[in-house]
């Protein structure tokens, strides 16, 4: 397939402005003739649905939770980056652009990233206007803090709840539009397939999760804003319901999947405490502003932390990366934690943990200041572990958190299926091989408020869209496929629960396709996952029926999709014979254990094409050229 990113020409600083002028417009009076479906109501989906409705389009928005305000964007803690340079410390759009490209280990599309940095300033303005209560200084102006991978203080935050507050801004705008009649909301409704007619995305087949009824919805364009696929690992910081079904179905209908192996492991999460563990809890990266990461210098040191003197402590991030120290980017900090644990110096009951210590910060700033900055995070930690982080160091360990990979999109955020737009974490763009902290929130809102509302107009104005109804043959056919699959899941009547399959897949993925990957491990996974998948379809036990609220059935469909996506991730990881960002291949590392890129062979986006059940997927390459940022070894020393 010919991958054309349709990046505009010209100097990078002008591409987006010129493009907006060149994009076709839909006359204000004509917008109400077009309908758009938005799947997902998080930062990207909620902002897109609200904005498209404000512009005059007829919008239908879908979410599987009971209310659009429950989207997992809500859990983001730390903050949102923007190149305002309010702190006068040298920030600029160019610097944010540069930091993000470098942070992504030179595997992102330059033009997209520049646009993101450019739009970041508008996002803050929009959120403030909606009443998002960002932290302020005494003079009444917006406050900032620093975040990983940056040497300037450019992160805006609302205590430790920035995600929730930004999402509420978008949710409130969405509710305003629902009240106005511009958006029809379908909560507790899950997309189960994409309707493609004459090669264009024309709607979705969705299931009402209360009644079980399967129903089709047609539109002139479809926007997927369904988040990331971290739950393929079972244990992640994602919400339990987060899933890849919407993008996976679209993938099987022709939307190429970009860089599936780029998954991000966040360095500071609360360690696993038992077999029953259902998810991992994130401790915001902002904690690394004031906390110091360390382990003992001695192997098997059983002394309680307050009895280990400073001389015996290895502040390994400060030692290895003097200029970034505890704020080294996530992939680097995660691998460093794994390294010291592998060396037998991990802490906690199962030796899989490192200390994040606030003793020095408390001594320097006082407990009150620390409480003001991180109060809710410290409380969260104490509730889960029953340990008091004001008195003893926190124990943390890396955990799957974010997926840089996702459906491939061009500069207009359109996938390889015309009329199917993908925004937020669900798409592959902007973050390259590693996402910097505080940039996911930025990307979701940039895509939803300020990009797709423009680019979708160009598509609608240019496409000759015939009227389709829910009685169209293709619609009926797709519905049939969905119904057949639901019934198939219920008919197996096997011996194993859905969760038991999910756990097994998750462990397999963590072991073979986690922080450190090897050709041998990946090849093994590529054998084991299809076998597990076959067993699933022969031995899964899904209780109940399809004509009722059935949470086991919901999970079963999602796990069935993870059992396919996991295999693609391993294939992608196997083919990429280099280490970059979140993708670390043990065979390709420097003598010091840092990632070793191969820019000559792998400076491209791997966009995979589904070729059918049992067939190997087909690799398409979008070459990446770096005209503005010099390719360099990514060093944070």
């Amino acid at each position: 397939m010919d991958l054309n990113s349709r990046t505009p020409s010209g100097p990078i600083q002008q591409k987006w402005d010129r493009h907006r002028f060149e994009l076709k417009l839909v006359n204000p009076a004509n917008k109400r003739k077009y309908s758009v479906i938005v799947v997902g109501s998080g930062l990207a989906g909620g902002s897109a649905a609200a904005t498209l409705s404000e512009l005059g389009y007829q919008v239908k928005c879908f979410c599987f939770q009971d209310s659009p305000r429950r989207a997992h964007s809500i859990a983001a803690q730390g903050g949102i980056n923007a190149a305002k340079n309010y702190q006068n410390d040298g920030d600029s759009i160019w610097r944010l652009f540069y930091d993000t490209v470098k942070g992504g280990d030179f595997r992102a599309r330059e033009a997209n990233v520049y646009r993101l940095a450019q739009i970041s300033v508008n996002i803050i303005d929009q959120c403030v206007a909606q009443g998002v209560p960002f932290a302020r200084e005494y003079g009444g102006l917006l406050a900032n803090r620093s975040f990983g991978g940056a040497q300037v203080s450019r992160t805006f935050y609302a205590r430790g709840q920035t995600g929730q507050q930004l999402l509420l801004g978008a949710y409130q705008a969405l509710e305003k539009e629902i009240a106005r009649g511009g958006v029809v909301m379908f909560a507790r409704t899950e997309m189960l397939d994409l309707i493609v007619i004459n090669g264009r995305a024309r709607g979705i087949v969705a299931r009402d999760m209360v009644t079980g009824k399967v129903q089709s919805h047609v539109a002139d364009a479809v926007v997927l804003a369904t988040g990331g696929y971290g739950n393929v690992f079972y244990l992640s910081t994602n919400a339990k319901g987060s899933n890849a079904t919407a993008i996976w179905r679209a993938h099987k209908r022709g939307a190429l999947f970009g860089n599936p192996c780029y998954t991000q492991i966040h360095p500071t999460c609360i360690p696993v405490s038992g077999e029953y563990q259902s998810k991992l809890t994130l401790m915001s990266e902002s904690l690394r502003n004031d906390g110091r990461v360390w382990v003992s210098k001695q192997r098997g040191d059983q002394r309680p932390p307050d009895q280990i003197p400073d001389a015996d402590r290895d502040y390994y991030l400060e030692r290895k990366y003097p200029s970034f120290g505890n704020l080294a980017p996530r992939d680097i900090a995660s691998r460093a934690a794994q390294e010291v644990c592998d060396d037998g110096r991990g802490v906690g009951p199962n030796g899989l943990g490192v200390f994040l210590d606030f003793a020095d910060a408390i001594k320097r700033l006082g407990e009150e200041r620390i409480r003001e900055r991180y109060g809710n995070l410290f409380e969260m930690y104490q509730r889960i572990t029953d340990e008091n982080p004001y008195r003893v160091p926190m124990r943390i360990f890396p955990a799957v958190h974010y997926t840089m990979g996702g459906l491939w999109v061009d500069y207009d955020l359109m996938s390889t299926i015309p009329g199917l737009f993908v925004i937020g974490e669900a798409n592959f763009s902007d973050h390259g091989a590693n996402r910097l902290g505080a940039s996911a929130l930025m990307q979701g809102l940039a895509d939803g408020y300020f990009i797709v509302p423009y680019t979708i107009g160009d598509y609608l104005a240019g496409a000759k869209l015939e009227k389709v109804g829910v009685d169209h043959a293709e619609v009926i056919g797709t519905e049939g496929i969905v119904n057949e699959r639901v019934l198939r899941l219920l008919a197996v009547h096997g011996r194993r629960t859905v969760d038991s399959f999910h756990r097994e897949l998750g462990k397999l993925m963590w072991d073979k396709c986690g922080m450190a990957r090897s050709a041998e491990g990946l090849r093994e996974a590529i054998q084991l996952i299809p076998a597990l998948r076959d067993e699933f379809w022969q031995n899964v036990n899904v209780p109940g029926s399809d004509a009722e609220l059935n949470q086991a059935l919901e999970k079963a469909g999602r796990v069935a999709d993870f059992l396919e996506l996991g295999e693609l991730m391993c294939r992608d990881a196997l083919h990429r014979e280099e280490s970059c960002g979140g993708h670390f291949r043990v065979e390709y590392q420097t003598d010091e254990g840092e990632a070793k890129r191969d820019d000559e062979r792998f400076a491209y986006v791997a966009a995979w094409e589904w070729r059918g059940d049992g067939a190997e997927p087909c690799l398409n390459r979008e070459p990446l050229t770096f005209e503005n940022v010099q390719l360099a070894t990514r060093s944070y020393k």
Binding site: L141, A173, A179, R383, N541, P543, L549
Partner: protein, 258 residues
């Protein structure tokens, strides 16, 4: 620890519900409450029974999806804690735990422990927003906001929309939920242009949904996982009174009852 659970089962919105007893042996004290229910559900499925339905998502106390009455207390015994954040070390071996959905006329039961909270979204639709269309905003620093106002607004903005306030209130009132949003936006300059409309619209919608009135029990504040203060209800009442005195009835903007 070994526990005995009494759990509300109800197969559909119009079915009669009842308490069913379940044994939960071998539960780790470090497990969370919902992880304990996961374990119970796995065993039920393995025994060919229908698992217990309950809402949950983030499992870290921020999305507001989860909500169980545990021994008659919304979100269980710990203050400032959502159901998903409650850990089994709070209970002891041999305990009997009664688990129910939120009980309120405005939150009809859908199935087992799952209730319909769409009334909350309709209250938001009646004014819980600032009308600022995308693209029209001035610079973020154009309007300085006193730090105290922001901190107070943030305190109120922390509401996760879980409904524990309603479940805990003997009147089934949604005043804390509604008051929290009115307070959050009412304290900020951006919320001023629509302040009266908002209070009027949201309070009238709250009433139309069938929630009860506030008679200052204060149970809501104690049940709230984000420890929102009932001062937000005072502010709501004040803004509502101002609205009643300054606005004409036609300009409420309230949506119809759900």
């Amino acid at each position: 620890m070994n526990l005995k659970l009494r759990i509300w089962r109800q197969s559909g919105p119009h079915a009669a519900g009842r308490f069913v007893e379940y044994q939960a042996p071998g539960i780790s004290p470090d497990a969370s409450f919902l992880e304990m229910l996961d374990v119970v559900n796995e065993r039920l499925i393995e025994n060919g029974e229908v698992p217990i339905a309950f809402d949950h998502d983030c499992r870290e106390g921020i999305c507001g999806s989860c909500g169980l009455m545990i021994n008659g207390v919304a979100h269980g015994p710990d203050p400032g804690t959502a159901t998903c954040q409650l850990h089994m070390r709070r209970f002891k071996d041999g305990d009997i735990i009664t688990i129910e959905p939120w009980r309120a006329r405005a939150f009809p039961v859908i199935r087992d422990l799952v209730v319909d909270r769409s009334a909350f979204d309709r209250i938001m639709q009646a004014g819980g927003f600032v009308s600022a269309n995308t693209g029209s905003a001035p610079d973020g620093n154009a309007i300085p906001i006193p730090k105290d106002a922001v901190e107070q607004a943030m305190d109120a903005a922390q509401c996760i929309g879980c409904g524990a306030c309603v479940a805990a209130c003997p009147n089934g009132s949604a005043s804390l939920f509604t008051g929290a949003k009115i307070t959050h936006l009412g304290l900020l300059p951006q919320g001023q242009p629509e302040r009266e409309r908002r209070a009027l619209g949201m309070v009238l919608q709250m009433d139309a949904e069938g929630f009860g009135g506030c008679t200052l029990f204060g149970e809501c504040q104690d049940a709230c996982p984000k420890q929102i203060s009932i001062e937000t209800i005072s502010r709501m009442n004040r803004d509502f009174l101002r609205a009643m005195l300054t606005l004409r009835p036609a300009s409420t903007g309230a949506a119809g009852a759900g």
